[in-house]
């Protein structure tokens, strides 16, 4: 899966889960400040990423994921979907 494909999939998940306009999702979108989400929403989202991409995201890595772009880079680097 290319970087663009990963971005598109993650953007779909965010649009659906956090009910925001798909067009407003950019790589700069910050999970912690730009979304109306609490800590449980964020863990649910990380679990969905793991299920969708078959990737394992450690607690430490999850804590350091702040933006959509960082999540895309992490998935691309840690799955076979390059």
């Amino acid at each position: 899966m290319s970087k663009d494909e990963v971005f598109n999939k993650i953007a779909d998940i965010i649009a659906d889960r956090f009910e925001i306009d798909r067009d407003k999702i950019t790589p700069q979108l910050n999970f912690k400040t730009d979304l109306d989400a609490d800590s449980i929403d964020f863990v649910e989202f990380i679990l969905e990423l793991e299920d969708t991409f078959g990737a394992e995201i450690s607690d430490e890595a999850a804590e350091n994921l702040n933006t959509v772009g960082e999540a895309v880079d992490y998935i691309v680097a840690n799955t076979d979907s390059k």
Binding site: I40, V43, E44, L47, E50, E56
Partner: protein
Amino acid sequence: MKIAVDAMGGDYAPKEVVAGIEIARDRYPEVEFDLFGQNDKVKPLLNNAERIDLVQADEVIAMEDEPVRAIRRKKQSSIVLAAQAVRDGADDAFFSAGNTGAILAAGLLIIGRIKGIDRPGLTTTLPVINNPKQDQFLMLDVGANADSKPFNLYQYAILGKYYAQTVMGFDNPRIGLLNNGTEADKGDMAHRAVHDILGSAKDLNFIGNVESRELLNGAADVVVTDGFTGNAVLKNTEGTALSVLKLIKNSILEGSLTGKLGAAMLKPTFKNIQNKMDYSKYGGAVLLGVKAPVIKTHGSAKAETIANTIGQIKSMLENHSVDNVVSYFNDHSDEMAAMKADMQK
């Protein structure tokens, strides 16, 4: 209706779980089951596969596994696969007698919260003693959250009210706040804040503070508390009841022959007491506030208790207890958001 069952959870799993599900299958003709577990262990225990589908789950989450880590890492476990089946709509409810923390985490993170609910609460039904008008009451949160905010307790009150109405048959349940005295100004700052919020909520029949010593007398129909206190009170209630029974037994054994004869005659009475205090017969603990019924029964549950708990789940599904909560929070979303913002000031 179809229930996802974790066949591997509990002290006597999978044997008692399978036996319990078979009793429930015979008792409730309209219920179907997906039994998640290691087929090589589960299949030989199953006498009749009518309305019971086996779903292979390679892994098992053990009682000592760290909950959130377990549900994130053991993706092929019976708890995770059963919760996913509920999330994906293949099953309508989730049942397990396994690792409580993992069940709560699966309910919270896989099945997910109802929109608008901050923290789901774990609830249990307890007996009311010697009160002709009431034989049970509901208490929540009994341990899903160790740290609860006043806003969470307000939401527990609403969740408890709907459960008491739809599943337990209370018309307009009396909501009480567990506190260290009945007067309105009792308790720490958080409890006084919750008292004010519940008192001004127009949809709740709030009767004020209740003390833990009055709970089994039927002080309220729904007792609202934070998870830390609720868990401590629940375990204390259970422990005290068992200790008193033990005390009676010891006194009889150490007493005179007439005492022993008297006790023999009172055996059915003691049995009744034990039966009344056995809260597993009132069903399992329910995680309220998630998108489908999530029910956990005692780890030590045997087949009969498991079958009873399935009856409770059936009643939750038949009475649309979750749908009612979803529509309440949908209809009151603006009000709820404003209240939360106000309380965080």
